[in-house]
Each structure stands twice: as C-alpha cells, then as structure tokens.
Assembly symmetry: C2
Homo-oligomer: 482 residues x 2
C-alpha cells in the first residue's frame, strides 16, 4: 500500500494546479515528449495510437458522407496567399517561410501550409468545369504549421496533425448544408466516441476563419472550466472561388462561381479528451477510443503462478476473440499494486484481476476505472458483462462531463457576474450581446473570456448586451479558452 | 467499335514512347496532377486510394513484427545535421531551409526533413537508458522533402509520402537481423501484394545511405527495362548512436552505444506498380491492391434496363457481402463500349457484364483485364469463380513481370555487352566487379547504368570485373535507373 500511495502522490492534483497535472499525466503516460524544435512535440506510440484511433473513426464517417481523401503539397507559393487578403492577414505572422534550398535562394518564397484553402482552390479551378463536376468532396490528412507564441502539448503546437475537408458546390444552399453536416459529424464523433459533450454554434465575426463567410464550432469544457474549440466548419461562400476562379458551366449554360466549404479537426482533440475525462489518478479513456479497453492482471503468491497465468491468458484469448482490445501484464518483478496504479494512470477502462481463489471459484474481479467499483463476475458471464460495463462507462463518462459543464455554466446579465463566472467560479457564461465588436472586445479585455460561439440551442435567450446593456441581438457563450 | 478504337488511340503505346505512355496513363486515370510547386504533385483520390491500400498492408506487417507508430517534428535544426558529417553531405543540396517566420528571422535555420535519423536519434538518446528499453522499434508515416533536380510523378518528387522505420538494438547482430527482417517484409509485400518481383541485395558503398554501415535494397524492373529501387533497409551500426549519444546501461553494468537501423518505402512504389503492370490499354492493378476489384456493367437495349439493372445491383450486393470491392456503372448516357475501355484503362482486374440474355440464362460474362479472356459463369458459381480468377490474375501478373525481367536480364563479361544490354536491349546486366569505386564510376559514365545491388542469390557468379578485368570480388546487377 505504501508504494501505491507514493505513486499516486507523484501526480499533482487537478485542484492544486491543473496545468501541472496535465503536463505530468501526458508525460508519465508517455503520450508525448518535448522536441528540440520550438513548440513542436513528439507523439510517442501511446499518444499516436490515440490519434490513429480518432483517424479511423473520423475517416470512416467522412467516407460514409461521400468524401474521398487526396493529398496536396506542403508548400504554398507566397503569391497564392495574396489572392485572399483576409486570409493572408490572418495567417501571416504564423507562417514559416522556406527561402532557400541547399545554398540557392528561391525566386518565390514558399510558406509551409497553415491550412490548404489556397492551393486546393487553385487545383479546384482546374478540375471543376461543369456542374457535373460538383459537388467535389475531398479530405486531406496532413501536418500543418502555425508558429504559435504560447504553446501547449496537443492543444496548441507549432506543427500539428489534422484533417481538412474541402468541398465545392453549385449552390449556396448546398454549401451551407455541407458546412452543417460536417459539424454534425464532428459532434457525433466527439459525443459518442470520445464521450465529450460539445456546444454547437456559430462563431462571432471576430472569431471566424480568415476568409470565411461563416464559421461554426463545437466547444468543450475542460475540468478547469476553460474551453477548447474541438472542431470548426466554415462556409467560405464564393470568397475563395472568386480569388481562385473556381467556375463552372451550370445546367442553364451560364458560367458561375462555385461555393466552397472547409472543415477541420486536429490533434488538439487529444488534449480535450485528456482534460475532460482525466482525474487525480491520471487519464481516463472512453472504451470506444481506448487502444486497450481492459488489462488482465494475474495475482496471488508466486507458487500459484503456474495455474493462474495460463488461465489469465485463456481469458485474454476469449476476450480478444469477440473483438475486445485486451492487454495482459503477467510480469513477476512488478507488484500487482504497482500495476493497478499504472493502468489506472494510463486510463484503461477496466481491470480484470484473476487470483487463485477466483480461479477455484471460476470467477474474476472486474474493476471500473471510472468509479473504482469492484465486481465479481463468473467467467462464463464475462464476455457479456464486459460488454455492458464498457457501454455503461462510455455513457457515464459523457454524463459526468456534461454534469460538470452544467454545474460550471450559467446565464449572466452583468459584467461582474460574467467575470465571477469565468474566473473565480471557472466556467462558461451565457450572455446577451448587441452585435458590436467593441462590446465583445471589452469582455475579453476585462475578463479574459472570449466569445466561444452563438449556440444553436441556448438554454435561455438573453435580452440585453452584457456590456452596453442595449438590446441583445445574440446570446453568446463566453469562456476563457485554451 | 469506332469509339473504342478512338479511345485506345489516345494513349501512346509503351513501345513508342514509354515516358509519354506513363504520364498519359497516370493523368487520364486521374491518379495525380501537377501542382504549382516545383516538383510537387497532387495525389488525386484514385491515386491516394492506392497509397492508402499500400499503407494498410504495410502497417499491419510492421505491427505484426513488433513495431509501433510515432510522429516526430517536420523541422530539423541545422545543428542536428552537422552531427553526422556523411549524412549532411549527402542531403545538403536537396534541403529546403526555413529561415524566417512571419517577418522574423530565425536564430537557427530549420531544414524540412528529408529523412528523420537525426531528430529521432536525438529523442532516442533520451528514451534509451537501459538494456530494458531495447529494442526500440518505431515507425513513422510522414511527408518528406528532397529538392530533386529531375522529377517524375510518384517516382521522384520534391515532396513525397513514405514510412520510415527507426530501431535501436543492444547488439550488432540484432540490428543486422532487423535490417534484413524489414527487407523481407518489403519483399513479401512487393511480390505478394503488388505482384512485383524484386531483386534483393546489398548496395555498393557509393550507393549506400549517407551515414549507413550497409544499405540493402529491393530492385524492380519496369517495362522499359529500367530499374526502380522500391525499398531500402539500412544498418546504421553505431554511427548515429555515436553522433547522438544513444547509450544504455547493459546487463553487465557497462555503458554501451546502441546499434540502430532505418528502413523506408515511399509513394514511388506507385510508380513501380504502374510501370511494371501497365500495358497499351492503361493501368493494370493486381487484385489484392486494387481499390475496386471488379466492375459490374449492365448491358443491352434500353427497354430491358428495368430488368437488368436491378439484377446487376443484386450481383453487386452478393459480391460485396463476401468481401469483394465491387463497383457498378449503370449510367444510361455512356455506352458499354466506353465503359469497357474506361475500366480497362483504370486497370480494374475483372469486368462483369450482365445483359438480358445472361439474365435469362442465369449467367454473367466475366472478362479478365490481363488476358481479355471472356468467361461465361453461372450466377450461382460466381462468388467461387471470382475468387479463383482474382487469385489467378494476382499470380499471373507476377509471373508476367518476372518473365519480362528474365528476358531482359543477362550476365555480361564486357563493357560492350553491358552497354548493349542496358541500352539497346533495355534491361539489367549481371557483371563482375573488383570492388574499386573507379570501375563502378566508369560503368556509369560509359553506359548510364548504375549498380543496382549485389544480389543475395545471383543466378551466376562472375569471375572478372566487367571494367578492369581483374578478379571480381562481387557480382553486381547494373541497370539504368529512375
């Protein structure tokens, strides 16, 4: 027991210093490491495996909604950025420039892509000639670079991994439908697979993507009450189509500009996953995304190992055969207590203990990571009970996260209440807004909170602007953000 | 028939101009497009899908041999390259340098990675402390950049996609075993999945990877007799471990340098796949890698469509249910002849035709892409016959490629014979070599052929050097290479 306590003590409690807790957990769980390149991290195998699982889930949803993958160049010529003024202004300070190759200076500087609307827009203008070429529905899995001043592993890194969908449509309505369809796909993935509840809504003009007509986002609350924008979907209208001449001959024989969209989700969702579910013992992974859903651990005195260990391996084989992702730790030189802590810290949803007495009784002890509950399960019922338990954990992680968000969210009418909500009480404030960017900027300056989004379904509609007290045109979620 | 001929005529025959044939086929099949960035291509969905299929097959083999995926930064600080002299000399002329971000000059230039031994070596030096940390077996799927002077889609592009395995071991023997194990994995993938026969062997010192102790390669012959190096596996000895201080405390309590390996396969294998199997009608894809293994095409007069089309969809459902990748083209505004040509050009292994008479007789016509053979198959036997046919095609593409390679390979004793073999007769020459780099360089200068590799199992052992006629220490395959 001494060892267990000692081990747990090594992680700073969330309530003491959330940032420290986060860094300690992702380091100890070997999800990442710092790299010698400023703001860039290394995704270690356990971290990358989580991203691979997210990729699989998202990729199959993109394909099911008619999208195909493609790959476009990493480098974007400087002149391309200049075709879309708002876009270049938004990204310019963060762009790394390749200016020479070997010892030769390049004639035109090349940016390392921060996002690919421009180069994809250029290609689309060549591929799209007729209404028959529309809609064009592509997605790219890629690395992108934005040289951020403040970085934080997974959440905001200079280089990150993401997918970026880029679509072109014949009508404004189709583009808008696509924009919202992909927000739906993101929502379903976050809530059903990652068990992370999100708030869906539209970004205010000051927070939208540079070059977009409208940006929609899903926002999640971390356990320190701060927000993470988990995914965005942009209706680009005809802005990029006009800059890059994406034109088509329509059925009525008229040449028209296409309407485009883009939408992206990045490795920052790993940060959200960790900060939404983790607790003072470490990570907590929802069963649907966990690379290992359960660990089997044989226990008991050394002389019983020859009986217990083979039986444990049999359990593993049985569970794997029905499709579970199961690990086993039968090492002799590490105590069961150490193992329990280790796999709890790594967030594995279930632990299955098998000792000599269990073996004799034809049962196992199943321990839930989320509640610590220990359940005696007859071996012949194990497959079925495990299925139920994983479903229950998947759901209860979601419920816990949603309850936390609700406890830490409230409507506010005044700047004082907003300040109190987002700072002292750490959470989201739902406030009225008159639509004036000056009021939004004042909130940010005075409270540190930014508008998260204008939710589609706010719990209440606010009547007056939280800053100027004039009539509100929108009800907005405000929160401090990562 | 007029239309079919016209269509076929559009592709330049291989015998007339192989390079032109290649570019026409990959463009028409929409595998790629040129990008506005010098030497970089766009992977269009049909091309990227081929790469995704290769990735799946390789990834599962890497995991089965104990490797895990990770991800390291795109950028490599200039100082890292300088730690391995041979390495920087090899890559320097091809390196794109990021020198500024936004308007700010960087203190240290960052190279866009051409390969990741240096930055991974740096991380390994931190992760590896004890013999217990070994072997460390990681793989990375990534984009890399080498600013090549002459570029050719897939085969040699400034940016390309690849995987790079990086492993560290306690002993020289383990590192050598790993190096050869991965060459075996590559070989099995190329021969069994892509039906591309390869020659396995060791690179001569002048052709090895900059910084390696030994480089092994697999080499394939294209249908113009030229070589493509399809994959390489490097034993890096203690070179990188020494430069990056990858040290560990061994069981005997001594600090030792690790031994490392690296191995890579890139999107150039798509070029090999196309150039090995394609013919004057277009692509030919081996069934195991083909994203679509068969196309079902309903035929017959318009008035019969209401009977034939639903029956065709039923066939598709039946075939998909047993796991085949099946497409259907039931468009009315395109003739069957056009479709036949289109899917032949795209290299789909089987075509299944269903017309009113077939429907009445409860049969279909199955047409092989490779031989053009038409086979009447009763519907109830279709699943089984398709399985056999796909296996036969998979095998016969391999046999055809191997027979072609054998016809275009021969042992040579003189420079004249070597010149004749690699130029006029277009192929590979097996020659003796004394081990002197000057003789190897003379062959290259006089014939344009480079040493491909020193094969593990040459059909004959040559006794004298093809250039200086002194005793040969090695028997080497020479060929002109892409």
């Amino acid at each position: 027991m001494a060892k267990e306590k000692e081990f747990v003590k090594e992680i700073t409690p969330q309530g003491e210093d959330f940032s420290k807790w986060y860094i300690e957990v992702i380091t100890k769980a070997q999800l990442m490491d710092y790299s010698p390149v400023r703001g860039c991290i290394v995704f270690r195998p356990d971290g990358f495996e989580l991203w691979e699982a997210c990729q699989r889930e998202l990729d199959q949803r993109f394909k099911a909604t008619g999208h195909r993958n493609a790959y476009f160049p990493l480098f974007i010529p400087e002149s391309f950025f200049e075709k879309e003024k708002e876009h270049i202004e938004g990204f310019n300070p963060e762009l790394p420039w390749v200016t020479q190759v070997g010892d030769d200076k390049l004639e035109e500087r090349l940016a390392v892509r921060p996002t690919s609307e421009t180069i994809i827009g250029h290609m689309y203008s060549q591929w799209i000639q007729s209404y028959r070429d529309l809609p064009l529905l592509l997605n790219q899995w890629a690395n992108v670079v934005r040289w951020e001043k403040r970085t934080l592993p997974f959440i905001r890194t200079s280089e990150f991994l993401w997918q970026e969908g880029h679509t072109a449509h014949a009508t404004a309505q189709e583009a808008q439908e696509e924009t919202l369809r992909m927000l739906d796909v993101y929502t379903e993935f976050m809530e059903e697979v990652l068990s992370v509840p999100v708030i869906r809504g539209q970004k205010t003009p000051s927070e939208k993507f540079p070059g977009a007509v409208a940006t929609y986002s899903i926002e999640a609350m971390m356990r320190d009450g701060k927000a993470i924008q988990a995914g965005t979907s942009h209706n680009l209208g005809q802005n990029f189509a006009s800059s890059f001449k994406i034109e088509f001959l329509d059925k009525d024989n008229e040449r028209k500009l296409a309407y485009t969209t883009s939408w992206g989700m990045s490795t920052r969702i790993l940060g959200a996953l960790i900060m939404v579910h983790g607790d003072d013992r470490g990570l907590q992974l929802p069963p649907r995304i966990a690379p290992t859903q359960m660990m089997v651990i044989p226990i008991g005195p050394a002389k019983m190992r020859e009986h217990v260990v083979p039986a444990a391996h049999e359990l593993v084989a049985t569970l794997r055969q029905v499709g579970y992702r199961v690990g086993i730790d039968d090492r002799e030189d590490v105590s069961p207590g150490w193992k329990f802590n280790e796999y709890e810290m790594r967030g594995i949803p279930l632990r299955i203990e098998l000792g000599p007495r269990d073996l004799a009784a034809d049962q196992v002890v199943v321990v839930r990571r989320d509640t610590g509950e220990k359940i005696l399960v007859p071996v012949q019922e194990l497959v079925e009970r495990v299925r139920e338990l994983l479903d229950v954990i998947q759901r209860s992680l979601f419920d816990r996260a949603r309850a936390f968000r609700e406890e830490h969210s409230s409507p506010v009418e005044t700047m004082e209440a907003l300040q109190e909500r987002v700072r002292e009480a750490r959470g989201f404030a739902l406030a009225g807004w008159c639509g004036d960017e000056a009021c939004e900027a004042a909130v940010k300056e005075q409270t540190g909170a930014t508008s998260r989004n204008i939710p589609f379904d706010p719990p209440v509609h606010q009547k007056t602007c939280v800053h100027c007290q004039k009539p509100a045109t929108h009800t907005v979620w405000f929160g401090r953000a990562y």
